[in-house]
Protein backbone atom coordinates (compact mmCIF):
# COMPACT_ATOMS: atom_id res chain seq x y z
CA UNK A 1 0.00 0.00 0.00
CA UNK A 2 1.58 3.22 -1.09
CA UNK A 3 -0.61 5.25 1.22
CA UNK A 4 0.63 3.32 4.20
CA UNK A 5 4.31 3.79 3.37
CA UNK A 6 3.82 7.47 2.80
CA UNK A 7 2.11 7.73 6.13
CA UNK A 8 4.93 5.87 7.88
CA UNK A 9 7.46 8.27 6.40
CA UNK A 10 5.69 11.18 7.99
CA UNK A 11 6.81 12.04 11.49
CA UNK A 12 3.97 12.35 13.89
CA UNK A 13 3.52 11.92 17.60
CA UNK A 14 0.27 10.02 17.81
CA UNK A 15 -0.63 7.41 15.26
CA UNK A 16 -3.23 4.69 15.17
CA UNK A 17 -2.07 1.51 13.54
CA UNK A 18 -3.74 0.78 10.25
CA UNK A 19 -5.07 -2.54 11.38
CA UNK A 20 -6.69 -1.22 14.52
CA UNK A 21 -8.37 1.72 12.83
CA UNK A 22 -11.50 0.00 11.50
CA UNK A 23 -12.08 -1.64 14.86
CA UNK A 24 -11.71 1.68 16.63
CA UNK A 25 -14.13 3.34 14.24
CA UNK A 26 -16.82 0.74 14.72
CA UNK A 27 -16.21 0.18 18.42
CA UNK A 28 -18.59 2.83 19.82
CA UNK A 29 -21.45 1.51 17.71
CA UNK A 30 -20.67 -2.01 18.87
CA UNK A 31 -20.54 -1.08 22.53
CA UNK A 32 -24.00 0.45 22.32
CA UNK A 33 -25.26 -2.72 20.72
CA UNK A 34 -23.72 -5.04 23.26
CA UNK A 35 -25.90 -3.32 25.82
CA UNK A 36 -28.77 -4.48 23.69
CA UNK A 37 -27.50 -8.03 23.26
CA UNK A 38 -27.42 -8.65 27.00
CA UNK A 39 -31.21 -8.39 27.42
CA UNK A 40 -31.55 -10.79 24.52
CA UNK A 41 -29.53 -13.41 26.40
CA UNK A 42 -31.52 -12.62 29.53
CA UNK A 43 -34.69 -13.40 27.61
CA UNK A 44 -33.30 -16.82 26.77
CA UNK A 45 -32.61 -17.46 30.46
CA UNK A 46 -36.05 -16.21 31.55
CA UNK A 47 -37.71 -18.45 29.02
CA UNK A 48 -36.33 -21.46 30.89
CA UNK A 49 -37.52 -20.23 34.26
CA UNK A 50 -40.69 -20.24 36.24
CA UNK A 51 -40.73 -16.52 36.85
CA UNK A 52 -43.67 -14.40 37.86
CA UNK A 53 -43.19 -10.82 38.98
CA UNK A 54 -45.98 -11.33 41.50
CA UNK A 55 -44.17 -14.32 43.08
CA UNK A 56 -40.45 -13.51 42.92
CA UNK A 57 -39.68 -16.04 45.67
CA UNK A 58 -40.94 -18.91 43.53
CA UNK A 59 -38.48 -18.09 40.76
CA UNK A 60 -36.54 -21.16 39.62
CA UNK A 61 -35.38 -22.98 36.53
CA UNK A 62 -38.03 -25.24 35.11
CA UNK A 63 -36.06 -25.83 31.92
CA UNK A 64 -38.34 -26.59 29.01
CA UNK A 65 -41.63 -26.41 30.91
CA UNK A 66 -42.65 -23.07 29.44
CA UNK A 67 -42.17 -24.44 25.95
CA UNK A 68 -43.66 -27.87 26.61
CA UNK A 69 -46.79 -26.36 28.10
CA UNK A 70 -47.38 -24.48 24.83
CA UNK A 71 -48.23 -27.74 23.10
CA UNK A 72 -51.35 -28.22 25.19
CA UNK A 73 -52.15 -24.55 25.59
CA UNK A 74 -55.00 -23.41 23.33
CA UNK A 75 -54.05 -19.79 23.97
CA UNK A 76 -50.65 -20.41 22.40
CA UNK A 77 -52.15 -22.06 19.33
CA UNK A 78 -54.51 -19.14 19.03
CA UNK A 79 -51.54 -16.75 19.14
CA UNK A 80 -49.68 -18.71 16.49
CA UNK A 81 -52.74 -18.96 14.28
CA UNK A 82 -53.69 -15.28 14.52
CA UNK A 83 -50.10 -14.15 13.92
CA UNK A 84 -49.69 -16.29 10.82
CA UNK A 85 -53.15 -15.36 9.54
CA UNK A 86 -52.49 -11.67 10.07
CA UNK A 87 -49.08 -11.82 8.40
CA UNK A 88 -50.35 -13.96 5.52
CA UNK A 89 -53.42 -11.88 4.73
CA UNK A 90 -51.71 -8.50 4.98
CA UNK A 91 -48.67 -9.48 2.93
CA UNK A 92 -50.65 -11.12 0.11
CA UNK A 93 -53.17 -8.28 -0.16
CA UNK A 94 -50.51 -5.58 0.09
CA UNK A 95 -48.39 -7.31 -2.53
CA UNK A 96 -51.26 -7.60 -5.02
CA UNK A 97 -52.47 -4.08 -4.39
CA UNK A 98 -48.95 -2.62 -4.34
CA UNK A 99 -48.04 -4.29 -7.62
CA UNK A 100 -51.26 -3.11 -9.26
CA UNK A 101 -50.74 0.48 -8.13
CA UNK A 102 -47.07 0.42 -9.15
CA UNK A 103 -48.07 -0.68 -12.64
CA UNK A 104 -50.73 2.03 -12.86
CA UNK A 105 -48.09 4.61 -11.98
CA UNK A 106 -45.25 3.11 -14.01
CA UNK A 107 -45.15 5.69 -16.76
CA UNK A 108 -43.23 8.77 -15.65
CA UNK A 109 -45.56 11.73 -15.78
CA UNK A 110 -46.12 14.70 -13.53
CA UNK A 111 -49.47 13.34 -12.36
CA UNK A 112 -48.11 9.85 -11.66
CA UNK A 113 -45.15 11.19 -9.73
CA UNK A 114 -47.42 13.47 -7.76
CA UNK A 115 -49.73 10.57 -6.86
CA UNK A 116 -46.86 8.32 -5.84
CA UNK A 117 -45.57 11.04 -3.50
CA UNK A 118 -49.05 11.51 -2.03
CA UNK A 119 -49.33 7.79 -1.39
CA UNK A 120 -46.23 7.99 0.81
CA UNK A 121 -48.20 9.87 3.42
CA UNK A 122 -49.90 6.84 5.03
CA UNK A 123 -46.53 5.11 5.20
CA UNK A 124 -45.02 8.07 7.03
CA UNK A 125 -47.86 8.17 9.55
CA UNK A 126 -46.92 6.43 12.78
CA UNK A 127 -48.77 3.08 12.75
CA UNK A 128 -50.08 3.66 16.27
CA UNK A 129 -51.51 7.03 15.21
CA UNK A 130 -52.91 5.50 12.03
CA UNK A 131 -54.76 3.00 14.21
CA UNK A 132 -56.13 5.91 16.25
CA UNK A 133 -57.32 7.65 13.09
CA UNK A 134 -59.18 4.54 12.00
CA UNK A 135 -60.54 4.11 15.50
CA UNK A 136 -62.09 7.56 15.26
CA UNK A 137 -63.48 6.79 11.80
CA UNK A 138 -64.99 3.48 12.90
CA UNK A 139 -66.48 4.76 16.15
CA UNK A 140 -70.03 3.36 16.36
CA UNK A 141 -71.39 6.72 17.53
CA UNK A 142 -70.09 9.17 14.94
CA UNK A 143 -67.51 7.34 12.80
CA UNK A 144 -67.80 8.15 9.13
CA UNK A 145 -67.02 4.55 8.13
CA UNK A 146 -69.71 3.21 10.43
CA UNK A 147 -72.09 5.63 8.73
CA UNK A 148 -70.97 4.51 5.26
CA UNK A 149 -71.38 0.87 6.29
CA UNK A 150 -74.93 1.60 7.40
CA UNK A 151 -75.62 3.16 4.00
CA UNK A 152 -74.81 -0.11 2.24
CA UNK A 153 -77.07 -2.04 4.58
CA UNK A 154 -74.58 -3.04 7.29
CA UNK A 155 -76.54 -1.69 10.23
CA UNK A 156 -74.56 -1.64 13.47
CA UNK A 157 -71.33 -2.84 11.85
CA UNK A 158 -68.99 -3.01 14.85
CA UNK A 159 -65.56 -2.99 13.15
CA UNK A 160 -62.79 -3.63 15.69
CA UNK A 161 -65.09 -4.17 18.66
CA UNK A 162 -66.72 -7.30 17.27
CA UNK A 163 -64.75 -10.57 17.29
CA UNK A 164 -65.91 -11.46 13.78
CA UNK A 165 -64.69 -8.24 12.15
CA UNK A 166 -61.77 -7.22 14.40
CA UNK A 167 -59.16 -8.99 12.26
CA UNK A 168 -60.59 -7.46 9.11
CA UNK A 169 -60.38 -3.99 10.65
CA UNK A 170 -56.76 -4.19 11.76
CA UNK A 171 -55.81 -5.78 8.43
CA UNK A 172 -57.44 -2.81 6.72
CA UNK A 173 -55.33 -0.38 8.77
CA UNK A 174 -52.18 -2.39 8.01
CA UNK A 175 -53.02 -2.29 4.30
CA UNK A 176 -53.58 1.44 4.51
CA UNK A 177 -50.21 2.05 6.15
CA UNK A 178 -47.97 -0.45 4.39
CA UNK A 179 -49.25 -0.95 0.82
CA UNK A 180 -47.37 2.21 -0.20
CA UNK A 181 -44.16 0.55 1.02
CA UNK A 182 -44.50 -2.32 -1.44
CA UNK A 183 -45.76 0.08 -4.07
CA UNK A 184 -42.72 2.37 -4.01
CA UNK A 185 -40.20 -0.49 -3.95
CA UNK A 186 -41.90 -2.16 -6.91
CA UNK A 187 -42.30 1.15 -8.71
CA UNK A 188 -38.55 1.75 -8.38
CA UNK A 189 -38.01 -1.80 -9.63
CA UNK A 190 -40.35 -1.41 -12.60
CA UNK A 191 -38.76 1.86 -13.64
CA UNK A 192 -35.27 0.39 -13.49
CA UNK A 193 -36.06 -2.52 -15.81
CA UNK A 194 -34.34 -2.43 -19.22
CA UNK A 195 -36.71 -1.28 -21.96
CA UNK A 196 -35.47 -3.47 -24.84
CA UNK A 197 -37.46 -6.64 -24.01
CA UNK A 198 -40.67 -4.62 -23.81
CA UNK A 199 -39.97 -2.81 -27.08
CA UNK A 200 -39.21 -6.10 -28.81
CA UNK A 201 -42.40 -7.64 -27.45
CA UNK A 202 -44.46 -4.66 -28.58
CA UNK A 203 -42.91 -4.87 -32.05
CA UNK A 204 -43.81 -8.54 -32.32
CA UNK A 205 -47.35 -7.89 -31.16
CA UNK A 206 -47.03 -10.20 -28.17
CA UNK A 207 -50.19 -10.21 -26.02
CA UNK A 208 -50.10 -8.11 -22.84
CA UNK A 209 -50.72 -11.03 -20.47
CA UNK A 210 -47.72 -12.83 -21.95
CA UNK A 211 -45.51 -9.77 -21.47
CA UNK A 212 -46.67 -9.46 -17.88
CA UNK A 213 -46.19 -13.10 -16.86
CA UNK A 214 -43.09 -13.89 -18.93
CA UNK A 215 -41.14 -10.64 -18.92
CA UNK A 216 -42.29 -8.20 -16.24
CA UNK A 217 -42.84 -10.64 -13.37
CA UNK A 218 -39.60 -12.64 -13.77
CA UNK A 219 -37.51 -9.50 -14.05
CA UNK A 220 -39.28 -7.98 -11.06
CA UNK A 221 -38.93 -11.09 -8.88
CA UNK A 222 -35.95 -9.95 -6.77
CA UNK A 223 -37.80 -6.74 -5.93
CA UNK A 224 -41.00 -8.61 -5.14
CA UNK A 225 -39.12 -11.05 -2.92
CA UNK A 226 -37.31 -8.34 -1.02
CA UNK A 227 -40.45 -6.26 -0.50
CA UNK A 228 -42.47 -9.32 0.54
CA UNK A 229 -39.93 -10.60 3.04
CA UNK A 230 -39.49 -7.12 4.47
CA UNK A 231 -43.22 -6.92 5.08
CA UNK A 232 -43.50 -10.51 6.30
CA UNK A 233 -40.80 -9.91 8.90
CA UNK A 234 -42.55 -6.78 10.17
CA UNK A 235 -46.05 -8.10 9.87
CA UNK A 236 -45.55 -11.25 11.92
CA UNK A 237 -44.31 -8.99 14.71
CA UNK A 238 -47.06 -6.40 14.36
CA UNK A 239 -47.76 -4.70 17.65
CA UNK A 240 -48.45 -0.98 17.21
CA UNK A 241 -51.59 -1.20 15.09
CA UNK A 242 -53.19 -4.06 16.97
CA UNK A 243 -52.36 -2.76 20.42
CA UNK A 244 -53.45 0.80 19.68
CA UNK A 245 -56.67 -0.39 18.04
CA UNK A 246 -57.91 -3.18 20.33
CA UNK A 247 -55.15 -4.13 22.81
CA UNK A 248 -55.46 -7.67 21.51
CA UNK A 249 -59.20 -7.84 22.01
CA UNK A 250 -62.04 -8.34 21.93
CA UNK A 251 -61.27 -11.28 24.21
CA UNK A 252 -58.19 -12.90 22.75
CA UNK A 253 -59.21 -12.48 19.11
CA UNK A 254 -56.08 -10.56 18.16
CA UNK A 255 -53.45 -11.69 20.65
CA UNK A 256 -50.60 -11.97 18.15
CA UNK A 257 -47.13 -12.85 19.47
CA UNK A 258 -45.94 -9.47 20.62
CA UNK A 259 -49.32 -8.39 22.02
CA UNK A 260 -49.64 -11.68 23.91
CA UNK A 261 -46.11 -11.36 25.28
CA UNK A 262 -46.81 -7.78 26.36
CA UNK A 263 -50.03 -8.75 28.13
CA UNK A 264 -48.34 -11.76 29.75
CA UNK A 265 -45.58 -9.56 31.07
CA UNK A 266 -47.55 -6.55 32.28
CA UNK A 267 -50.96 -8.00 33.12
CA UNK A 268 -50.37 -11.55 34.29
CA UNK A 269 -46.71 -10.71 35.16
CA UNK A 270 -45.70 -14.11 33.82
CA UNK A 271 -42.16 -13.28 32.67
CA UNK A 272 -41.23 -16.88 31.85
CA UNK A 273 -44.10 -17.45 29.46
CA UNK A 274 -43.66 -14.03 27.91
CA UNK A 275 -39.96 -14.69 27.24
CA UNK A 276 -40.66 -18.12 25.78
CA UNK A 277 -43.19 -16.57 23.39
CA UNK A 278 -40.63 -14.01 22.28
CA UNK A 279 -37.98 -16.68 21.71
CA UNK A 280 -40.35 -18.60 19.45
CA UNK A 281 -41.17 -15.44 17.52
CA UNK A 282 -37.47 -14.69 17.29
CA UNK A 283 -36.81 -18.19 15.86
CA UNK A 284 -39.44 -17.58 13.18
CA UNK A 285 -38.03 -14.18 12.26
CA UNK A 286 -34.47 -15.48 12.32
CA UNK A 287 -35.39 -18.15 9.81
CA UNK A 288 -37.18 -15.62 7.60
CA UNK A 289 -34.46 -12.99 7.87
CA UNK A 290 -31.81 -15.44 6.68
CA UNK A 291 -33.73 -15.97 3.47
CA UNK A 292 -34.37 -12.28 3.33
CA UNK A 293 -30.75 -11.20 3.72
CA UNK A 294 -29.61 -13.36 0.80
CA UNK A 295 -32.11 -11.72 -1.51
CA UNK A 296 -31.50 -8.31 -0.13
CA UNK A 297 -27.74 -8.67 -0.68
CA UNK A 298 -28.21 -9.72 -4.29
CA UNK A 299 -30.43 -6.71 -4.93
CA UNK A 300 -28.04 -4.41 -3.11
CA UNK A 301 -25.08 -5.58 -5.15
CA UNK A 302 -27.03 -4.94 -8.31
CA UNK A 303 -27.99 -1.44 -7.17
CA UNK A 304 -24.36 -0.65 -6.23
CA UNK A 305 -23.20 -2.05 -9.57
CA UNK A 306 -25.44 0.39 -11.42
CA UNK A 307 -24.21 3.34 -9.41
Amino acid sequence: MTAATVQRARPSGFRISKRALPYLLSLPALLVCIGILIPFLTSVVYSFQRYRLSQPWARQFNWGDNYISFFTDPKFWNTLQVSLLYAGITVVLELLLGLAIAMLLQKRSTLNNFISIMLLMPLMTAPALAALMWKLMTNPGFGVLSYLASLIGLQDFRWASSPSTALLTVVLVDIWVYTPFIMILLLAGLRSLPTQPFEAAALDGVPRSFVFFRITLPMLTPYILTATLFRLLDSIQQFDIIYAMTQGGPGDTLTVFQVEAYLNFFQSTNVGRSAALMIILWAITYFLSNIFIKNWLRLRERARGQA
Binding site: T2, A3, V6, Q7, R19, P22, L25, S26, P28, A29, V32, C33, I36, I38, P39, L105, I115, I117, L119, L120, M121, L123, M124, T125, A126, P127, A128, L129, L132, M133, L136, M137, N139, G141, F142, V144, Y147, W176, P180, F181, L185, A188, G189, L233, F239, D240, Q258, A261, F265, V271, S274, A275, M278, Y286, W296, L299, R300, A303, Q306, A307
Partner: protein, 285 residues
Protein backbone atom coordinates in the same frame (compact mmCIF):
# COMPACT_ATOMS: atom_id res chain seq x y z
CA UNK B 1 -47.76 1.29 -24.75
CA UNK B 2 -48.89 4.32 -26.73
CA UNK B 3 -51.87 2.63 -28.35
CA UNK B 4 -54.09 2.68 -25.31
CA UNK B 5 -57.77 2.64 -26.07
CA UNK B 6 -60.16 5.18 -24.62
CA UNK B 7 -61.81 2.48 -22.50
CA UNK B 8 -58.50 1.51 -20.97
CA UNK B 9 -57.66 5.10 -20.16
CA UNK B 10 -61.02 5.58 -18.46
CA UNK B 11 -60.58 2.40 -16.42
CA UNK B 12 -57.09 3.45 -15.38
CA UNK B 13 -58.43 6.83 -14.36
CA UNK B 14 -61.16 5.26 -12.23
CA UNK B 15 -58.71 2.84 -10.60
CA UNK B 16 -56.27 5.63 -9.76
CA UNK B 17 -59.04 7.79 -8.36
CA UNK B 18 -60.16 4.97 -6.05
CA UNK B 19 -56.58 4.42 -4.93
CA UNK B 20 -56.10 8.10 -4.14
CA UNK B 21 -59.43 8.26 -2.26
CA UNK B 22 -58.62 5.18 -0.14
CA UNK B 23 -55.17 6.38 0.88
CA UNK B 24 -55.96 10.07 1.28
CA UNK B 25 -59.42 9.96 2.82
CA UNK B 26 -58.40 9.17 6.43
CA UNK B 27 -55.89 12.01 6.53
CA UNK B 28 -58.31 14.50 4.99
CA UNK B 29 -61.13 13.38 7.28
CA UNK B 30 -59.12 13.63 10.50
CA UNK B 31 -57.82 17.01 9.33
CA UNK B 32 -61.43 18.17 8.91
CA UNK B 33 -62.46 16.74 12.27
CA UNK B 34 -59.70 18.69 13.96
CA UNK B 35 -61.49 21.93 13.02
CA UNK B 36 -64.89 20.85 14.33
CA UNK B 37 -66.60 21.05 17.67
CA UNK B 38 -67.93 17.90 19.31
CA UNK B 39 -71.41 19.02 18.30
CA UNK B 40 -70.73 18.94 14.57
CA UNK B 41 -68.64 15.76 14.85
CA UNK B 42 -71.46 13.87 16.54
CA UNK B 43 -74.02 14.90 13.93
CA UNK B 44 -75.37 12.09 11.76
CA UNK B 45 -74.98 11.92 8.82
CA UNK B 46 -71.42 13.31 9.01
CA UNK B 47 -71.16 16.88 7.81
CA UNK B 48 -68.96 17.91 4.94
CA UNK B 49 -69.74 21.60 5.42
CA UNK B 50 -69.20 23.11 8.85
CA UNK B 51 -68.04 26.23 10.57
CA UNK B 52 -64.32 25.65 11.19
CA UNK B 53 -63.03 26.41 14.66
CA UNK B 54 -59.51 26.65 16.02
CA UNK B 55 -60.69 25.87 19.55
CA UNK B 56 -59.22 22.35 19.50
CA UNK B 57 -55.78 23.62 18.64
CA UNK B 58 -55.86 26.44 21.18
CA UNK B 59 -56.91 23.97 23.87
CA UNK B 60 -53.98 21.72 23.02
CA UNK B 61 -51.45 24.52 22.80
CA UNK B 62 -52.49 26.29 25.98
CA UNK B 63 -52.88 22.92 27.70
CA UNK B 64 -56.19 24.00 29.23
CA UNK B 65 -59.44 22.43 28.26
CA UNK B 66 -62.73 23.96 29.36
CA UNK B 67 -65.33 21.31 29.96
CA UNK B 68 -68.73 21.33 31.61
CA UNK B 69 -67.17 19.84 34.74
CA UNK B 70 -64.32 22.33 34.99
CA UNK B 71 -60.90 22.96 33.50
CA UNK B 72 -58.83 19.99 32.42
CA UNK B 73 -55.07 19.95 32.01
CA UNK B 74 -53.73 18.37 28.85
CA UNK B 75 -50.04 17.53 28.65
CA UNK B 76 -50.02 17.17 24.91
CA UNK B 77 -47.41 19.86 24.31
CA UNK B 78 -45.16 17.97 26.69
CA UNK B 79 -45.59 14.83 24.54
CA UNK B 80 -44.82 16.82 21.43
CA UNK B 81 -41.66 18.20 23.00
CA UNK B 82 -40.64 14.68 24.11
CA UNK B 83 -41.04 13.45 20.54
CA UNK B 84 -38.88 16.26 19.21
CA UNK B 85 -36.21 15.83 21.86
CA UNK B 86 -36.05 12.03 21.72
CA UNK B 87 -35.97 11.86 17.93
CA UNK B 88 -33.43 14.63 17.41
CA UNK B 89 -31.05 13.39 20.10
CA UNK B 90 -31.34 9.75 19.05
CA UNK B 91 -30.52 10.63 15.46
CA UNK B 92 -27.59 12.82 16.51
CA UNK B 93 -26.16 10.00 18.64
CA UNK B 94 -26.76 7.45 15.89
CA UNK B 95 -24.98 9.66 13.35
CA UNK B 96 -22.04 10.16 15.69
CA UNK B 97 -21.71 6.42 16.27
CA UNK B 98 -22.90 5.13 12.94
CA UNK B 99 -21.07 7.26 10.37
CA UNK B 100 -17.53 6.28 11.46
CA UNK B 101 -18.60 2.64 11.69
CA UNK B 102 -20.18 2.83 8.24
CA UNK B 103 -16.93 4.25 6.91
CA UNK B 104 -14.95 1.43 8.50
CA UNK B 105 -17.26 -1.19 7.00
CA UNK B 106 -17.17 0.42 3.57
CA UNK B 107 -13.42 1.00 3.32
CA UNK B 108 -11.81 -1.78 5.33
CA UNK B 109 -12.60 -5.43 4.96
CA UNK B 110 -11.38 -6.41 8.40
CA UNK B 111 -11.86 -9.71 10.15
CA UNK B 112 -15.46 -10.19 11.22
CA UNK B 113 -16.58 -6.96 9.57
CA UNK B 114 -19.39 -8.54 7.59
CA UNK B 115 -20.59 -10.54 10.58
CA UNK B 116 -20.74 -7.44 12.72
CA UNK B 117 -22.53 -5.47 10.04
CA UNK B 118 -25.11 -8.22 9.64
CA UNK B 119 -25.60 -8.55 13.37
CA UNK B 120 -26.43 -4.86 13.40
CA UNK B 121 -28.78 -5.35 10.48
CA UNK B 122 -30.51 -8.24 12.23
CA UNK B 123 -31.53 -5.86 15.05
CA UNK B 124 -33.83 -4.27 12.55
CA UNK B 125 -35.75 -7.53 12.27
CA UNK B 126 -35.69 -8.92 15.79
CA UNK B 127 -38.92 -8.61 17.79
CA UNK B 128 -38.65 -5.41 19.83
CA UNK B 129 -40.23 -6.86 22.96
CA UNK B 130 -37.65 -9.66 23.08
CA UNK B 131 -35.17 -7.03 24.17
CA UNK B 132 -37.54 -4.55 25.78
CA UNK B 133 -39.14 -6.77 28.40
CA UNK B 134 -35.90 -7.83 30.16
CA UNK B 135 -34.66 -4.29 29.64
CA UNK B 136 -37.51 -2.87 31.75
CA UNK B 137 -36.28 -4.96 34.68
CA UNK B 138 -32.65 -3.94 34.09
CA UNK B 139 -33.59 -0.28 33.70
CA UNK B 140 -35.41 -0.34 37.01
CA UNK B 141 -32.31 -1.70 38.72
CA UNK B 142 -29.95 0.70 36.97
CA UNK B 143 -32.19 3.70 37.54
CA UNK B 144 -32.59 4.19 33.80
CA UNK B 145 -36.32 3.54 33.80
CA UNK B 146 -38.20 6.56 32.55
CA UNK B 147 -35.09 8.59 31.69
CA UNK B 148 -34.30 10.27 28.40
CA UNK B 149 -30.88 8.65 28.49
CA UNK B 150 -32.30 5.13 28.64
CA UNK B 151 -34.83 5.84 25.91
CA UNK B 152 -32.25 7.37 23.58
CA UNK B 153 -30.04 4.36 24.08
CA UNK B 154 -32.83 1.98 23.12
CA UNK B 155 -33.82 4.18 20.17
CA UNK B 156 -30.42 3.28 18.72
CA UNK B 157 -32.02 -0.07 17.84
CA UNK B 158 -33.97 1.72 15.12
CA UNK B 159 -31.59 4.49 14.15
CA UNK B 160 -28.21 2.75 14.07
CA UNK B 161 -28.87 -0.09 11.58
CA UNK B 162 -30.63 2.32 9.25
CA UNK B 163 -27.81 4.86 9.29
CA UNK B 164 -25.08 2.25 9.15
CA UNK B 165 -26.41 0.48 6.08
CA UNK B 166 -27.49 3.50 4.08
CA UNK B 167 -24.37 5.54 4.76
CA UNK B 168 -22.16 2.55 4.09
CA UNK B 169 -23.62 2.36 0.60
CA UNK B 170 -22.85 6.02 0.01
CA UNK B 171 -19.24 5.58 1.17
CA UNK B 172 -18.88 2.57 -1.12
CA UNK B 173 -20.01 4.71 -4.04
CA UNK B 174 -17.04 7.05 -3.57
CA UNK B 175 -14.12 5.69 -5.61
CA UNK B 176 -11.32 4.72 -3.23
CA UNK B 177 -8.79 6.27 -5.64
CA UNK B 178 -9.89 9.78 -4.71
CA UNK B 179 -9.02 9.05 -1.10
CA UNK B 180 -5.71 7.40 -1.98
CA UNK B 181 -4.71 10.40 -4.05
CA UNK B 182 -5.41 12.72 -1.14
CA UNK B 183 -3.48 10.53 1.28
CA UNK B 184 -0.46 10.34 -1.00
CA UNK B 185 -0.49 14.10 -0.73
CA UNK B 186 0.55 13.54 2.88
CA UNK B 187 -2.75 13.83 4.69
CA UNK B 188 -3.80 11.62 7.58
CA UNK B 189 -6.73 9.23 7.34
CA UNK B 190 -8.73 11.56 9.53
CA UNK B 191 -8.17 14.53 7.24
CA UNK B 192 -9.14 12.30 4.33
CA UNK B 193 -12.28 11.19 6.12
CA UNK B 194 -13.23 14.74 7.06
CA UNK B 195 -12.29 16.57 3.85
CA UNK B 196 -13.06 13.96 1.19
CA UNK B 197 -15.33 11.15 2.35
CA UNK B 198 -17.74 13.12 4.57
CA UNK B 199 -18.55 15.88 2.06
CA UNK B 200 -18.98 13.41 -0.80
CA UNK B 201 -21.32 11.21 1.24
CA UNK B 202 -23.01 14.30 2.71
CA UNK B 203 -26.39 14.08 0.95
CA UNK B 204 -26.65 10.39 1.81
CA UNK B 205 -25.85 11.05 5.44
CA UNK B 206 -28.45 13.82 5.58
CA UNK B 207 -31.07 11.55 4.02
CA UNK B 208 -30.26 8.70 6.39
CA UNK B 209 -30.57 11.12 9.30
CA UNK B 210 -33.98 12.36 8.13
CA UNK B 211 -35.24 8.81 7.72
CA UNK B 212 -33.93 7.76 11.10
CA UNK B 213 -35.75 10.77 12.52
CA UNK B 214 -39.02 9.68 10.92
CA UNK B 215 -38.66 6.14 12.25
CA UNK B 216 -37.74 7.34 15.72
CA UNK B 217 -40.68 9.74 15.74
CA UNK B 218 -43.11 7.04 14.64
CA UNK B 219 -41.92 4.51 17.16
CA UNK B 220 -44.49 3.42 19.69
CA UNK B 221 -43.48 0.33 21.59
CA UNK B 222 -40.20 1.51 23.13
CA UNK B 223 -41.74 4.43 24.97
CA UNK B 224 -44.89 2.47 25.77
CA UNK B 225 -42.79 -0.01 27.72
CA UNK B 226 -40.01 2.18 29.10
CA UNK B 227 -41.50 5.65 29.71
CA UNK B 228 -44.09 7.13 32.04
CA UNK B 229 -46.42 9.96 31.13
CA UNK B 230 -43.90 12.78 31.51
CA UNK B 231 -41.38 11.24 29.08
CA UNK B 232 -43.80 9.80 26.53
CA UNK B 233 -43.73 10.91 22.90
CA UNK B 234 -46.88 11.73 20.92
CA UNK B 235 -47.45 8.19 19.66
CA UNK B 236 -47.99 6.92 23.19
CA UNK B 237 -49.42 10.16 24.54
CA UNK B 238 -52.18 10.30 21.93
CA UNK B 239 -53.29 6.81 22.88
CA UNK B 240 -53.65 7.75 26.53
CA UNK B 241 -55.62 10.73 25.28
CA UNK B 242 -58.41 8.75 23.72
CA UNK B 243 -59.15 6.86 26.93
CA UNK B 244 -59.07 9.84 29.28
CA UNK B 245 -62.49 11.15 30.13
CA UNK B 246 -63.74 14.56 29.12
CA UNK B 247 -61.53 14.80 26.05
CA UNK B 248 -63.35 15.73 22.90
CA UNK B 249 -62.94 14.01 19.58
CA UNK B 250 -61.94 17.24 17.88
CA UNK B 251 -59.02 17.58 20.25
CA UNK B 252 -57.86 14.04 19.58
CA UNK B 253 -57.99 14.76 15.87
CA UNK B 254 -56.05 17.98 16.32
CA UNK B 255 -53.46 16.08 18.37
CA UNK B 256 -53.14 13.49 15.61
CA UNK B 257 -52.73 16.22 12.98
CA UNK B 258 -50.00 17.92 15.02
CA UNK B 259 -48.28 14.56 15.58
CA UNK B 260 -48.16 13.40 11.98
CA UNK B 261 -47.39 16.75 10.33
CA UNK B 262 -43.61 16.72 11.05
CA UNK B 263 -43.01 13.29 9.54
CA UNK B 264 -45.23 13.96 6.54
CA UNK B 265 -43.43 17.24 5.85
CA UNK B 266 -40.00 15.62 6.18
CA UNK B 267 -41.05 12.73 3.97
CA UNK B 268 -42.09 15.11 1.21
CA UNK B 269 -38.77 16.86 1.56
CA UNK B 270 -36.70 13.65 1.53
CA UNK B 271 -38.88 11.64 -0.85
CA UNK B 272 -36.04 11.24 -3.32
CA UNK B 273 -34.17 9.12 -0.76
CA UNK B 274 -37.13 7.26 0.70
CA UNK B 275 -36.91 4.24 -1.57
CA UNK B 276 -33.28 3.71 -0.75
CA UNK B 277 -33.83 4.29 2.94
CA UNK B 278 -36.85 2.04 3.29
CA UNK B 279 -35.03 -0.83 1.60
CA UNK B 280 -31.92 -0.18 3.72
CA UNK B 281 -29.95 0.66 0.60
CA UNK B 282 -31.01 -2.34 -1.49
CA UNK B 283 -33.11 -0.46 -4.05
CA UNK B 284 -32.16 2.85 -5.60
CA UNK B 285 -35.05 5.15 -6.34
Amino acid sequence: MEHTSLLERVLRGIALTLVVIFFMFPIVWIFMMSFQTNETILRIPPQLVFEPTLANYTALITGKLETASGTLDIAFMRNLWNSVFLSVTSVAVALLLGVPAAYAFARHKFRGSEDIAFTLLSFRFAPALLVLLPLTLYFQKLGLANTYFGLIWVYQLICLPLILWIVRGYFEDIPADIEYAYRIGGHSWFATFRKIALPLAGPGIAAAGLLAFIFAWNNFVFALVLASADKQPVTVGALAFITSSGIQYGQISAAIVLSITPTLALALYAQRYLVEGLSLGAVKG
